[in-house]
Symmetry: C2
Subunit: 320 residues, 2 copies
DNA sequence: ACCGGTTGCGCAACCGGTTGCGGTGACAGT
DNA sequence: ACTGTCACCGCAACCGGTTGCGCAACCGGT
């Protein structure tokens, strides 16, 4: 592996000039910059990240912490974050904390020595512990808000409320909401939003917290059937699919006997053209979060925390 | 952040002794080791990875390259690999190459300066280019075999063949195989295995390559119906679900009118107790691959490449 | 008391970039 | 010709661990 010294020698300049030519070209004569770049190119020079990290005191790595990889909700976020990180020359390390919300702080403290920033997606820990973790390094929260910390959330609460209102307009008077972990901030937001939207207009059955899996959907389906509701709002796609399947097995047909809301793309595939659909843009969420984090890391002045709320579009069936 | 110097001072030893006490304790008097460890603990010392990497010439980071995160097949692998990596004190960086099989080599060359090893999952590139990439750093292939390179694969080919034989025993004479990208090594293996298993016993309809999505399943379903087959072997769970849905919409019921094989857990959730199921252990696949890679990285002698083939259990319905 | 062999530790060089500071030469202004 | 400015560049120190080498103390054996 060629080093900066080799490049410098080849270009006939000192190591320091070579360094500046490559990383801060404004400080070097244009013609020299060209020579250095050409040598670097020719030798196939790739700067050693460890050395750069050591000298600069920054690693160029950001950690993305996800509760689990089994929920398909998180992977698009990771993908979007990774693309955005690559654009800024940042590496991305993925950490799965297996929903152990209470072990976050120690692990993150260890990690904080190795990375420049954190992207915490849907952290479940208590507000105080999470806040402590956020103070280790520049941090952006995804799908959770904590006062004083930058965050980016997909506004599914508003979308769910809109769906609930749509169902009410369509005459539904008993609606079920199937949520996730009750330690989840988003889940709380959604429950409140839907409760507010239905209050006085329809009865809302809030079912037990369910993991976002197909199996969980089949498991909760009987409860839905028993509650005698006519519309369901499940919080995750796989869960929704499980529900549709299991209801079908009990002779309850979607959409004929039961209304449901589901991710746009899946609805199209299923031919569920009469149901309202929502459309969370996971990659965009990840990209925005990473972008915000990058700002946070480069900006020296610790200005006020950004609180972004990405709208989640709701599409109503053509019939209005 | 406390440095090794601080720890050494606190323990009343030199920096070099402190370093050895922490990383090669056999070289230091036991009582000294204790003192150093105690000081490190008390100060909350966390070794600076960049410095270690620079001094040792190894980064302690391995890259996991996946074609995409949208296929639920890969995420459990990443999870398993991450857990195993953490056990060995390795960080894991996830790289998504967006199926651009021809851009692998350049990107990996860049990356190779920053990591100690590669886990290439299901690389689609040509054998020669992939082989070139494998020579940059210790590499373990997942779900692809190339002579001379260590690899770990889930033996779905054998499992699929077993399923095909099961279908034949049950009297099926027209079977459809729905595969993925025809650039995929695994896909090729599976196609061959199933072809061999059915040869002379049943007609095999090999359908067009499909992405592993629900939507693709609904798309390919008409072709399945038209081919007049009685059993389907789809290569991905989401795809299978899409097929079941869409067949159902056309009045073809699974399992009454059509046999299908599907992932164990989903089959249970669906109540498909009469269908053979397969059970790929993604986390185990990732863990084994990372384990193999770790061996490769620590072993100095470049011995013969490991070629692991994890069996994929097939469970037949209770009725035999 | 002398000696070869351990054992335990410190000195200082090194990994490969980055950057503060000082030196050099060109050029304009008087 | 003399000096002040400024753009450009090199020297060397530094980031924080790791490790080869050498020194000192201590061991049992003759």
């Amino acid at each position: 592996m060629p080093t900066l010294d080799d490049v410098a020698r080849a270009a006939g300049v000192s190591k320091s000039t070579a360094s500046r030519a490559l990383s801060r070209p404004a400080l070097v004569a244009p013609e020299t910059v060209l020579r250095v770049r050409e040598s670097a190119e020719r030798l196939g020079f790739v700067p050693n990240r460890a050395a750069t990290a050591l000298a600069r005191g920054r690693t160029g790595v950001v950690a993305v912490v996800v509760p689990t990889l089994e929920n398909a909700f998180f992977t698009p976020i990771i993908g979007g974050a990774q693309r955005r990180a690559a654009e800024s020359g940042l590496q991305l390390t993925v950490v799965v904390n297996a929903l152990r919300h209470d072990a976050d702080l120690e692990a993150l403290t260890q990690l904080s020595a190795q990375v420049d920033g954190f992207l915490l997606t849907a952290p479940l820990g208590s507000e105080s512990r999470t806040l402590a973790a956020c103070q280790l390094k520049p941090t952006v929260l995804v799908d959770r808000e904590i006062p004083g910390v930058s965050s980016v959330i997909a506004d599914t609460a508003t979308a769910f409320a809109a769906v609930a209102r749509h169902f009410i307009r369509r005459g539904h008077r008993r609606i079920a909401l199937v949520g996730g972990s009750n330690r989840s901030w988003q889940n709380e937001q959604r429950t409140e939003a839907v409760s507010a939207a239905t209050r006085g207009l329809a009865e809302l059955a809030i079912l037990d917290p369910m993991p976002p899996t197909f199996a969980a959907g089949t498991e909760v389906a009987p409860a839905i059937a028993d509650r005698d509701v006519t519309a369901v709002i499940p919080y995750a796609t796989a869960l929704a699919l499980g529900i549709i399947f299991a209801l079908g097995a009990r002779g309850i047909s979607v959409p004929d006997d039961m209304a449901i809301t589901i991710e746009r793309q899946v609805a199209t595939a299923l031919g569920l053209t009469t149901m309202p659909t929502i459309d969370v843009d996971g990659p965009e969420l990840g990209r925005t979060a990473m972008s915000t984090l990058h700002d946070l890391m480069t900006r020296d002045t610790a200005e006020t925390a950004a609180r972004l709320r990405l709208p989640v579009p709701v599409l109503y069936p053509a019939g209005g």
